[in-house]
């Protein structure tokens, strides 16, 4: 108990836990819209596409400041999203194929640039690899401040456009016919989702970020039939796994924070898929068995 309270009052722990909680909230909220729009995989595409941006930002500026690197990530992430949207709109290639294509090309470019950057006579590049797997434990207070600002902006915009995002996610064609420019809405929502992904890169990394985006939303959907409740629950689940993950990785030596956060949110998701009332697998099996029993007691045949 004593060690736990010592841990909780530890400054580094507080910083990392706060950052991870913020990440959970942001990815839970925006991930809900990504999942409902059937664009869950966008997270995977964008996060992989962010790698060349990170390395390019470093090569061009020589700086390893999070803001600079994430700005680069944001730019290539947006470029990838733009490319995917364009390919889907102007060809017969479908979303999943376009995504796989763009994602692997961008990630490949990122790896090439990363290898190249290590040959550059500047010993400063060692920290770039942290963006692949994430390195929450090196999070600084200024990183958390950056996350908090971005998160606040994201949440305010989401609340402002709540009605529009809801309509747009449910029935995009109808939204267009009653005069909401769906092109603009798509651009805005995609931008918010990309920004949410970029914010999480430093903590959980390129490879695991898509789980942070999808898992809280999928878990939350199991427990809710209203959009606001789903978004709220996704935020709570995301935040809870952020804090729990940080706690576990701080308590157990040698356990990396980002992956543990992802394991936590996955555990919540698996639990929700199994046990949620109504939508959960167990509940469905139960109702099925009950119906069978009733059928049998009423003398039904065919069992």
């Amino acid at each position: 108990m004593e060690s736990l309270s010592a841990l909780l009052s530890d400054y580094t722990f507080q910083t990392v836990a706060l950052g991870s909680a913020l990440l959970g909230v942001i990815s839970g909220v925006l991930g809900s819209f990504a999942v409902l729009r059937k664009q869950s995989l966008l997270g995977d595409g964008v996060s992989h596409a962010a790698l060349p941006g990170v390395v390019m930002a470093f090569l061009l500026t020589g700086s390893k400041n999070t803001e600079v690197l994430l700005l680069g990530a944001l730019l290539t992430g947006l470029a990838a999203t733009f490319l995917i949207t364009r390919i889907v709109r102007n060809s017969r290639i479908r979303f999943d194929s376009a995504l796989a294509l763009v994602m692997s090309v961008f990630f490949g470019l990122g790896l090439v640039l990363l290898t190249y950057s290590q040959k550059v006579p500047n010993a400063n590049q060692a920290g770039l690899k942290r963006f692949i797997y994430g390195q929450a434990s090196t999070m600084l207070q200024r990183d958390v401040v950056l996350m908090a600002i971005c998160g606040a902006v994201l949440l305010v915009i989401t609340i402002l456009f709540w009605k529009e995002f809801k309509l747009f996610s449910f029935d995009i064609e109808y939204a267009e016919t009653i005069g909401f420019g769906t092109g603009k809405l798509n651009l805005l929502l995609s931008f918010l989702i990309v920004l949410a992904i970029i914010i999480g890169l430093e903590t959980v990394g390129v490879v695991l970020m898509s789980a942070m985006l999808i898992a809280p939303a999928v878990a939350a959907r199991q427990w809710s039939n209203r959009l606001w409740l789903m978004v709220l629950l996704a935020a709570i689940f995301g935040a809870a796994s952020g804090v729990t993950g940080t706690l576990i990785s701080s308590a157990v030596a040698g356990v990396p924070t980002g992956p543990v956060i992802v394991v936590c949110i996955t555990a919540i998701t698996v639990f929700s898929l199994l046990f949620a009332p109504g939508r959960g697998i167990l509940h469905r099996i139960y109702t099925r068995m009950k119906s069978r029993a009733r059928l049998a007691s009423e003398g039904g045949s065919g069992l």
């Binding site: 009605k163 529009e164 309509l167 064609e173 267009e176 016919t177 009653i178 909401f180 809710s224 959009l227």
Partner: protein, 249 residues
């Protein structure tokens, strides 16, 4: 005919998906206050015509005019209500019946403004008119096909539009519901609204509608049911499926 007041006018409309034309040089006018059926075989371009009319499809050439210039210049798109096929959305979306019907008010509210108690009262009233009031708080994933269709209808009704464009509102609907929907459509017509419906059942065209548009890639006929809904035109629209058309006329 010339002096009749036209609600919608389609001129030189050609639409193609890839290299395949779906609508070819369509010219037609629909007078205001008519209850019109769009009929034609599968793949004739009925849905495409409706989508082009509500501006969801960019045509290769030509376009759609509304007599109301406010609609034409795009400022009052809300005056044209679109009822899509119910299969066009994912009904597993986390929303209630009331939520979806309220979306019909969003066009009036404009950007940012939230629906209020007045909108909610209107939504409940409209749900009542389609016989769905008791389902107001039901999760939309638990609706039958016919109920989904009526929810979409309510969403369009609450829009209080002048022109209604509906894509197969009778699909998956039982006989009783079909009757009540037809009654609603006739009420809209009596209020002076123009209603254009993609329809499949040739048997009921004469009972339900007073105007008919026969298409099959090109326009075959456009006019009063009594004038143009005959075996000759059906034969042209449906090709050599003579048996079917004989049964009807």
């Amino acid at each position: 005919m010339q002096n009749e007041d036209y609600a919608v006018e389609v001129h030189d409309l050609t639409v193609a998906y890839g290299t395949k034309p779906v609508l070819w040089d369509i010219d037609l006018s629909i007078p205001a206050g008519r209850l019109a059926a769009v009929i034609g075989p599968n793949g004739a371009g009925k849905t495409t015509l409706i989508k082009a009319m509500v501006g969801l499809i960019k045509p290769l050439s030509g376009g759609v005019d509304f007599s109301d210039k406010e609609i034409k210049n795009g400022r009052l798109r809300n005056k044209v209500a679109y009822v899509p096929q119910s299969g066009s959305v994912d009904w597993d979306f986390p929303a209630t019946v009331l939520d979806v019907v309220m979306m019909g008010r969003y066009g009036h509210l404009g950007w940012f403004k939230r629906p209020g108690s007045l909108d909610k009262a209107m939504a409940l009233e409209t749900l009542d008119s389609v016989g769905m009031r008791e389902f107001a708080s039901r999760q939309i994933s638990q609706l039958s096909g016919g109920q989904q269709q009526r929810v979409f209808l309510a969403r369009a009704l609450i829009q209080q539009a002048d022109i209604y464009l509906m894509d197969e509102p009778f699909k998956g609907v039982d006989a009783q519901t079909e009757k009540s929907i037809v009654l609603l459509l006739k009420q809209l017509k009596e209020q002076g609204k123009t209603v254009i419906v993609v329809h499949h059942d040739l048997q009921t065209v004469a009972d339900y509608f007073d105007w008919v548009i026969l298409i099959n890639l090109r326009i075959v006929a456009n006019g009063l049911v009594g004038d143009v809904f005959n075996e000759e035109n059906l034969g042209i629209a449906y090709g050599n499926r003579g048996l079917l058309t004989k049964e009807v006329t």
